[in-house]
């Protein structure tokens, strides 16, 4: 297990942390890589990709659905499924307050939206996550909505496409969040039993519980360039293990090199690629 281990260094590389802090100060429409700045409408027209350097901004779930699905084809499902607060969780603020704030800030009912759609006229079920809703974290409501997406795909006999973006399990729901891993995997097993595929598009970031469940179980898995795809993120690995990390630690490129994903595709090439998959798996 140690043949690829990089020689342990006693110094801790803190570059990732510095980038993290700078990122907080930056305007969301400013490219963190080259500094180009865009108006909202420019960014949207460019499917949230920097026209100058190709950096992929995180894409809001609604914008992603509007772009992926054929015009007018998306029918949202299970929008009524919302988070509860079974543990009466209170850290620095009550969990309920955090949920209400996330709803207000994002206009989304939860960190995932699901529904039926068409892509280049192929029917499919979509499940699209949004990192801006409590870090895309998976609690009971997100797990339930993914399960319903599996059920809908099964009922319609169509493939399921998951676009993931999640920091992992939602801590405020404690052990119930952890149980969303086997819950979603169980629903996926039923889909697979019926001969229907799951296609995964992994976007920045997909970490923790999502990587340890359905995000790692796609029949075909593609990733966006430069996305952080890890079970344990770089900051935690650095703080615990005190190893110097390679620059592309946990990124799509490292995942491709080590055989964890099938391809890295810039956003502009994803629709034709997915359409090809839908043709190949079509019945």
């Amino acid at each position: 297990m140690s043949e690829t281990r990089i020689d342990a260094e006693t110094t801790i590389d803190v570059t990732v942390e510095r980038v993290g802090r700078a990122a907080e100060a930056r305007h969301p429409n400013t490219c963190p890589r080259c500094g180009s700045h865009y108006r909202d409408d420019e960014l949207e027209a460019a499917i949230h990709v920097c026209a100058h350097c190709g950096f992929h901004f995180r894409m809001p779930a609604r914008a992603r659905v509007a772009w992926l699905a054929d015009a007018g084809s998306f029918r949202e499902q299970a929008a009524e499924v919302r988070s509860a607060d079974p543990l009466h969780f209170f850290d620095l603020r009550p969990y309920r307050e955090r949920i209400a704030e996330a709803e207000l800030n994002t206009g989304l009912p939860e960190a995932i939206i699901i529904g039926s759609a068409r892509l280049e006229n192929h029917p499919l079920e979509l499940a699209v996550m949004d990192f801006s809703f409590l870090g895309g974290s998976m609690g009971s409501a997100v797990g339930e909505k993914f399960v319903r997406a599996c059920d809908a795909a099964l009922a319609a006999g169509v493939p399921l496409l998951l676009v993931s973006s999640s920091g992992g399990a939602r801590m405020q729901e404690g052990i119930l969040s952890l149980m969303q891993l086997p819950k979603t995997i169980s629903a996926l097993d039923e889909l697979h039993e019926a001969g229907l595929p799951l296609f995964n598009v992994l976007t920045d970031p997909t970490t923790g519980g999502l990587m340890a469940s359905v995000a790692s179980l796609g029949d075909v898995t593609i990733a966006e360039p430069g996305a952080l795809l890890a079970f344990t993120g770089p900051r935690v690995v650095q703080s615990i293990i005190k190893e110097k990390l390679p620059d592309d630690f946990g990124r799509s490129e490292q995942n491709l090199r080590f055989g964890q994903i099938d391809a890295i595709l810039p956003r502009s090439e994803q629709r034709p690629y997915l359409a090809r998959l839908l043709r190949l798996f079509g019945r």
Binding site: M1, V81, G143, G174, I175, S186, A212, S216, V237
Partner: protein, 303 residues
């Protein structure tokens, strides 16, 4: 909450707790701990017992309750992960495949076993022994005791998330009975990877959680020192896990904790495992798989 508690009481949830006095004690404990306002001290006491340095580990139980033990090594790909022990042996009169996390007792062993934190190779080893179990119809028994999956560079490069996901997927589809018991720390995905079982039990003083109290405190309070507060907020003790429907039963321990009397703790564990295996014996594989999926699909509380 009160309603849920009374519903709980009507179910045969406490697995073979031995004598009636013990069952009464556990029910009393359930009443007092699974309140909304269980105190920080009450919850933290479980965390400390679950991590007690003298608490019996997987191999301590194996030597007491498994006959004809044959340990199996290696994932047949790359490594033999010391953080996961796998093997076959006889438990309560039947051949089983047994998987368990193994922490080390002294520093040297702890380093060799990575404090019970598996790499992807550990889950691959568990997976190939599950394949063996399925081939020969052996039930799969797993003992859970890990702070979590190993958070390191090589573990990530070798696909830690995918390894945990595939281990769960394999457990979901197993055509043989499976029983898991958390015997210490049930730390997040690293624990769950071996605990997607037909029956999931917890010892009385074990914990099962989505993240360590320290990790949660670091993220939500930005201060590791708030671990007690974090634990009290996410409630990792067996009684809350039972109440939330995450586990199927609680296994009693000797007074003061399993470390006080490992022989007795082992006897109580054996009785609970045997009862669960008896329950599952003779059920066809396809039905086990369907029922298991239904059970996990129903987990969660949403509005």
């Amino acid at each position: 909450m009160r309603e849920r508690l009374s519903r709980l009481r009507s179910l045969p949830l406490l697995q073979r707790t031995g004598v009636a006095a013990e069952e009464r004690r556990l029910r009393h404990q359930l009443d007092s701990v699974s309140r909304v306002d269980a105190s920080e001290e009450e919850i933290w006491a479980f965390v400390e017992l679950a991590r007690h340095p003298e608490r019996p580990y997987t191999l301590d139980y194996v030597e007491r309750i498994v006959e004809d033990w044959v340990e199996l090594h290696g994932d047949r790909g790359r490594a033999d992960d010391g953080a996961i022990v796998a093997g076959i042996g006889r438990l309560a009169g039947r051949t089983v495949a047994l998987l368990g996390h193994q922490k080390g007792r002294d520093l040297k062993e702890r380093l060799r076993r990575q404090y019970g934190m598996p790499h992807p190779e550990g889950y691959a080893k568990a997976g190939r022994v599950m394949d063996l179990a399925e081939r020969f119809g052996f039930p799969v028994v797993s003992l859970i005791d890990t702070p979590g999956a190993y958070p390191g560079l090589v573990a990530e490069q070798h696909g830690q998330g995918g390894a945990i996901a595939r281990s769960q997927a394999k457990m979901i589809t197993l055509g043989v009975p499976s029983v898991a018991c958390v015997i210490g720390e049930g730390g997040s995905g690293g624990a769950l990877a071996l605990a997607v079982s037909d029956r999931v039990l917890m010892q009385e003083n074990a914990i099962y959680s989505v993240i360590t109290p320290e990790g949660c405190a670091q993220i939500l309070w930005r201060d590791q020192g708030q671990a007690r507060k974090a634990a009290a907020a996410f409630k990792p003790d067996a009684f809350h896990c039972l109440e939330l429907g995450v586990i199927d039963g609680i296994v009693a321990e000797p007074p003061g904790g399993a470390q006080n009397d490992p022989d007795r703790a082992a006897a109580q564990l054996q009785e609970a495992l045997a009862a669960a295996l008896d329950d599952l014996a003779g059920i066809p594989g396809s039905e086990l798989r369907r029922t298991r999926r239904q059970k996990f699909r129903a987990m969660g509380v949403y509005a």
